[in-house]
Amino acid sequence: MNLRILRASLFVTVISLLTLSFGIVQSRPRASARPQTDQESAEKSLRAFREVASVLTSPRCLNCHVPDDGPLQGDDDHPHFMNVKRGADGKGSAALRCFACHQTENAAVLHGPPGLLTGSSPRQRHPWSGKV
């Protein structure tokens, strides 16, 4: 039984080392690499942008990056509960500041307020709102 485990472990170790070696060889820049054409570069940029866009258009971001006076809430972007307002300084209205309910980390309780990084709504609409 122990011999079987030993053999299996040895096999996994060898495979891992081979995979690692292959990865290192592959990742080395090749001297004869062909320079990218403009079209290839543009396609690569678009691919990278699409990845970033998936983050930028997440409700987790856009619920606060809104053009209106109040933030949104949830994956369906409904208006924030309690009619929360952005306020003059972007940190909520008097007595109802963002940090009145939100901590810098998610609340420990299920369905509690999510954590906020800054406790401040962005002042301006960001260029990707509604465009991506």
């Binding site: 309910c101 609340a107 509690g112």
Partner: protein, 156 residues
């Protein structure tokens, strides 16, 4: 468990408790300050509102570790002799019906008046939108805040 030191109503208190414990339960169960109420436990109703460094916060979702070294004020700490304008106005207008949400209402009102000495109806509605009242005392809350603002300005 850990020893946590917090300043409540001007007094420094030391409690031996899990630092993740909501401030509400430290106030009510460790320090006996039961004026602050448990409503929803999710920062949705405002009954547990207290001040931390002068700002209204929901104590039910605020871990006690977050207020270490900060000034916490509960409804008991507004004044010892009911002389705070919000307390006087609340009594004069007879705002409460069942009264359960009123400590939170008063703490939000006091926080509003600390930064706006002459709030409009809109200012009041915006500031108090997070404090729910099942009895529907909103009209009296608004009237009392206007009265408290006048009292604070020395006009009544």
């Amino acid at each position: 468990m850990a020893q946590t030191s917090i300043s409540v109503n001007g007094e420094t208190k030391s409690v031996d408790i899990d630092p993740a414990t909501p401030l509400l339960w430290v106030l009510r169960e460790q320090l006996g300050l039961t004026g602050t109420k448990f409503g929803c436990g999710l920062a949705l109703c405002g009954a547990c509102t207290v001040h931390v460094d002068g700002n209204a916060v929901r104590s039910c979702v605020t871990p006690v570790r977050a207020v270490a070294g900060k000034r916490v004020t509960t409804v008991e700490g507004l004044s010892r002799d009911r002389s705070h304008p919000v307390q006087r106005a609340w009594l004069q207008v007879q705002v409460p019906q069942c009264g359960y949400c009123q400590p939170g209402q008063m703490m939000s009102a006091a926080a509003l008046l600390s930064v706006n000495s002459n709030p409009s109806d809109t200012d009041i509605d915006d500031a108090m939108a997070g404090n729910l009242c099942r009895c529907g005392t909103y009209a009296r809350v608004r009237r009392a805040i206007h009265l408290a603002a006048e009292m604070a300005r020395g006009q009544k």
